[in-house]
Symmetry: C2
Subunit: 429 residues, 2 copies
Amino acid sequence: MSTSHTINGNRLLLRLEEFARIGATAKGGVNRQALTELDRRARRLLTELARARGFSVFQDPAANLFVRREGRDADLPPLLIGSHLDSQPTGGRFDGALGTLAAYEVLESLEDKGIETECPVEVVAWMNEEGCRFAPGCMGSSAFAAGAIPQSWATIISTDGSSLKEELAATLEALPEAAMRPLGFPVAAYLEVHIEQGPSLEKEGIPIGIVTGIQGTRWLEVKVTGQAAHAGTTGLEYRRDPMRALSEALAELFGTVMPQDERARFTVGQMTLSPGAVNAIPEIACCTVDARHVETGLLDSLVKRIGEVLKRHAETNGCTVELRETFNMAPATFPSGMLDVLSSAAETAGLQSKKILSGAFHDALFVNRVAPSAMIFVPCRDGLSHNEAEFVEPDWSIAGGSMLFSAVMELLARRGSAGSGALEGETPK
Amino acid sequence: MSTSHTINGNRLLLRLEEFARIGATAKGGVNRQALTELDRRARRLLTELARARGFSVFQDPAANLFVRREGRDADLPPLLIGSHLDSQPTGGRFDGALGTLAAYEVLESLEDKGIETECPVEVVAWMNEEGCRFAPGCMGSSAFAAGAIPQSWATIISTDGSSLKEELAATLEALPEAAMRPLGFPVAAYLEVHIEQGPSLEKEGIPIGIVTGIQGTRWLEVKVTGQAAHAGTTGLEYRRDPMRALSEALAELFGTVMPQDERARFTVGQMTLSPGAVNAIPEIACCTVDARHVETGLLDSLVKRIGEVLKRHAETNGCTVELRETFNMAPATFPSGMLDVLSSAAETAGLQSKKILSGAFHDALFVNRVAPSAMIFVPCRDGLSHNEAEFVEPDWSIAGGSMLFSAVMELLARRGSAGSGALEGETPK
């Protein structure tokens, strides 16, 4: 690993400790939900660290927080790096924080080494990635990508009864030293480090995942209606059992969807039968479906097929089926140029890497709509996340920071001194 | 239909009306749960009617109520006919009441016609057949068959917080004119009229079902344990999905159990997934199984097979399965001699009949353990029961009463004047 690409690993680990104290839980995790007083404390800490180092700090109307290190040409779109600082209610210390603090470590390392960049480099902490206090998630990054705050935000109420509008205003007011800037602006490229939230890197002992894309997700509510009847007295010819229809349909889908296409995901996480008596054929069998695929066309086909299989088994059993889509997030594929940058950066940094697909949403999915983006995964123990026991080995955290630094250097080099390089025009639709 | 076998149909219909007023609900049904004040009123009414007709009335320590018409030989075991007078909380007018009042109508018809019988004939109203206020059901008939009150009764508390022991004592005290007799005594034979609680007689337009037996029932609680994980980020090789295991097992069972054996019943009435998030592979999938068969050996095989199929699919999916049996009621097959009696009786009465299997439990199941028993079903509209809309056409009620009268005459004839006939020794184990 060349010295010029080395970050200050110990400082990164100390920063992770420092931020983990804000909202620390008894079990060693973090409860620092979006737009709470604890979230504001984390934003304040980052701001104070940044100002002490001479960086400027901005926030936008969606309470996205930016730390800017100036480039030679202040008019060039900045290179953006970061993640989020909010957590799940019983979350871990690394989900979001690692990406934000690794990005800030890169900024400090650039400063330490006196590296001048053509374009500015900015660290971002996106507002409310988790979506657990205020739904949905990725609020800050999606508003940034859209260039506007959705009207729906005006009426969103949190799980604790607070209004998003008021908590957003209070959060912005709590940081008067961060200058306001408009929502959305040109970005040269975006890079995000994140924990994998799955076990594959750890199991293979590979420290760096180069994320090729993020699966699209569709959520369905399935309702199969038959006829409630006595489990014992009803003759076979009179049984119209929605549970039989649903079991058969789900078994067919489980038995074909993923075996036939290893990039597809089909999950049933909720199920209810009503009236719900042990000795009654149910009238109604309901379940949810979470369907994912990285390719839009194949995700559409999968959802269509789910509907057809359900309909066929419902009809065979004298039942009817209704489907309602409750969530639809299109897949993202990160630009090949950005993946090349990451591959080169891993090589330069001497870090083993593998291509990996993200099954979870991340802010990068939304930023990728307006700027070439890419993500770097690091392993987390047992794939555990959204859990107070979430843990990232110190070496893995440092590897993530080193990889990000290397990728930033690679990107800056490719963009050249003119600030306009190979990545221009690659922004996906 | 020969005149000698004709009951007073209008009187039976009036009696049904009269009893339906005790606990009548706004929707035309009945709420007359076991051992309530309303149940006591129904018992009192039957007692008053009986005493006015010169019949004697008895009760036993389980609050089973008996109306006795003496035979020539008072020492002979009585021929017992009846059903129950308690109802579901939102029950119908016919479930139980029809069988009890049809039996009482037979007793009055014998009296009307001055028919002398060798053995006494007794009407019985069994205590708490429904089991909804105090669980389990068929309390009176099962205690009668066992010849003892189970110790467990001492601590049973009703859904409204009353003690079974106290309500039983108060019910017995409320009817001082009914002489106490010991629990359990020799019975020549037992006959019970009941509504089908299923649609088959009505659909085929047949007024009488000759019940060949009552299915045995086993209830299982199934718990399949896998590993909770993110619906998107978890690689296929790390998925241990209990919902997939359960869907596949249930689909296999639904697809084979009943298609292969039309006398088997397999029902899943309750199901829960936990933690129950739309975007999480569940850790645990639980469901209930209601398995029924009229043959003990085949029911045992079915339950064994259910366990094997669940275990196989659990293992295939990296999960484990636990089974817990929460209810086990052995099947009953009514003696062939009793079925012959009913077939002859239907012919004599000029009533079309078909053999039918009961999917629900009835008091006759328990009485059959100590005396040759049989049941007569009549159609109910749309198979609806345990419902205030439960309805039996007047002609069907009268057909049930006529059939019972005919069967009583047939039984008495077969037993002959010595009071010891073809049915002796047929009592099943």
